[in-house]
Symmetry: C2
Subunit: 389 residues, 2 copies
């Protein structure tokens, strides 16, 4: 088990910093406030952490004013937990209440701003969604004539992309747990084992290694390679000649690792070995390119140049890695369209992939933090050659 003397949660200063930085960006856009509705957004600014978000029943709201602490408007069932946070202003209602699930409380908060024709922000761009009934939102907006609502996606995403030292400590810890778990796969995976059992054994091992959970585990195993990278496991047993891939998001204190590993079962054919080698070297190119000042596009092109040795299309995953933190995938995207400039303390995945043979694909993934002088691996680097179980 990975030692876990790291504190859970964050010091209050962490939330004060996040809020102050958000308010500085809000001021530049002339925002009198910012309304947030999603799990990661609420947790980022309040520290409110619960799995209860898995229930779709109740909406939750956080409002960041132009100065001072955030204001929570939440179901009463969350009040006891939210009172342990750094917030002072916690407004609750007895939810569910389909006729008024927080809407009159939101109205009360926002109507003075509407009267003064203020502008507020709401994340409504790429990678966001409004976690509340759309009908309630439409009603709220139509009742608040005068309020100008603009997209605040960039404010939240630009802050969340760059991690604090305390966040990096958590991410490093869960990446170490993920690495220790993958190291045990050759011990518990065997020919004849149904893939769903391999997956269960992986999750048990991740928990044993100290993960709070392994909520994301996808993968495939097939003769000479696999055709899909997001499937749940079936009952087909591992067979000699398979290539097995498992891709996991393990979590610790609300922070994720996200990486995969590949193995050949019993023996590997030349094509699989070559695909693996190309991806391993593409990752090396990514590691070299992941330094402050380069862009995500640079990172994409560095990896893509190597992938082209074997696959001119570069597969169709859509990107070759992404940000990592409170969610399995975060901004930015390592893609030709993303000109985000890499900064120190960004935590990223490098995830080159390629298509080969008869409809097969292979993916490879590592997690890094961008330091002043370049990439620092958070994961234990995959073997340079396709390992055989």
């Amino acid at each position: 088990m990975q030692p876990s003397t790291i504190e859970r949660g964050f010091a209050v200063e962490e939330f004060e910093n996040r809020t102050r930085l958000a308010q500085a960006l809000m001021a530049k856009q002339g925002l009198a406030g910012m309304l947030l509705t999603s799990e990661a957004e609420l947790r980022y600014f309040s520290g409110f952490q619960t799995l209860f978000w898995q229930s779709p029943t109740r909406p939750w709201f956080l409002f960041i004013p132009d100065s001072g602490k955030p204001i929570a408007i939440i179901p009463e069932i969350g009040a006891a937990l939210m009172r342990q946070s750094w917030l002072d202003d916690i407004r609750t209602w007895s939810a569910p209440a389909p006729q008024d699930d927080g809407i009159s409380l939101l109205h009360e908060l926002l109507s003075p701003l509407a009267k003064s024709k203020a502008r507020i922000g709401l994340p409504k761009g790429h990678e966001t969604s409004l976690r509340m009934p759309l009908g309630d939102w439409e009603k709220l907006v139509s009742d608040l004539t005068g309020l100008e609502i603009v997209d605040a996606t960039a404010i939240v995403q630009s802050l969340r992309m760059v991690k604090s030292a305390a966040e990096i400590e958590k991410l490093s810890h869960i990446c170490a747990i993920g690495s220790a778990t993958f190291a045990e796969v050759p011990v518990f995976a065997n020919v004849g084992q149904p893939l769903e059992e391999t997956f269960r054994a992986f999750k048990r091992e991740a928990l044993t290694q100290g993960a709070d959970d392994a909520p994301y585990l996808v993968g495939s195993s097939g003769p000479g390679g696999y055709i899909d990278v997001i499937s749940p496991p079936g009952r087909r047993p591992l067979q000699t000649g398979d290539v097995l891939m498992m891709d996991t998001g393990c979590a610790w204190d609300g922070y994720f690792c996200d990486f995969d590993r590949n193995w050949a079962i019993g023996q590997a054919d030349d094509e699989s070995r070559r695909a693996y080698d190309v991806l391993w070297r593409a990752t090396e190119a990514g590691l070299a390119a992941a330094r402050p000042g380069n862009t995500c596009r640079d990172l994409f092109q560095a990896m893509s140049a190597v992938i082209t040795e074997m696959d001119s299309s570069g597969g169709d995953i859509g990107r070759l890695g992404h940000g990592l933190g409170m969610q399995l995938t975060e901004q930015p995207s390592h893609a030709a369209f993303d000109q985000t400039v890499l900064k120190e303390n960004m935590v990223l995945t490098l995830e080159p992939s390629l298509s080969y043979g008869d409809g097969l694909m292979m993916v490879h993934e590592e997690n890094i933090v961008v330091r002043a002088n370049g990439a620092e691996l958070l994961t234990v680097r995959a073997a340079a050659e396709l390992p055989i179980i």
Copy 2:
């Protein structure tokens, strides 16, 4: 381990039935189609099952036309998996593409309907949310003048509330796994064990018992009782005199159990014993009331009448149970506001709760299927008296 000879997935007829029933309800509302964006909605009509939804990056769309099979508009990364479904018309784009994440494909599909001033449905009511960037939705709607978009929440929820035999088989299986896991708690939970370790042991046991995962596990342990029911576990060790509660949503093949159990550690005080007894009897009252023809309100009142013996407020969880299926919580709600009539083959939780002592609370939960002659337990009924570990 619970034997699992049950088939994963569903026969095509299951999806044909769901689609035909939806189309009949759509016809009553004069809908030319229905647009869906969430995980459970897409899975319900297509069978498309993946944990990849945990990544917020890519939107996914399913359109149910007024006749014929659903049409999928999805990121290319999901194409191989979706092609294994019963759908024929699968339209993909290389996502992420922040400038056009499926929007032009949606526009192409919907613009003929907009030209003919057709009406389509979109779930935008209680317990729903639009899983796509709000900005993209606003753009799409403003480009499709003529298209009338109405709330289709009731269509999807009324169908999903009543389970098929194949769904009940899966739900029964995961409830049996949950029960077998809870039965082991006295074996692995010990005085001095940090609560986070008790939780890890629970999840390992659930996997050993055959769960695909235990994505939801919340609970508390505190002297004489607990004050919160949605917290993640901390490092405080279990202590003699604690009341421990764990509430789990384990999953098998995409279907959930959702129930909890309480234990006293070492010894139980009179107040906790009494609270437990009241909740146990409230559940009995719920079991007796859970028959076709009664309403959710009846079920609420039957349980509430018993809870009142000890707590006149009935706590503030907001309801005393809910539907259960592809999500941890589904419609309906056992609450005074919900007049949904219970039907045969609804799968429900009975979840009475109360406040007592100095800010303490207790919750109790069982899972049932409503049969023609009344409630059938899917969970192994909790002990009649507060068990002591």
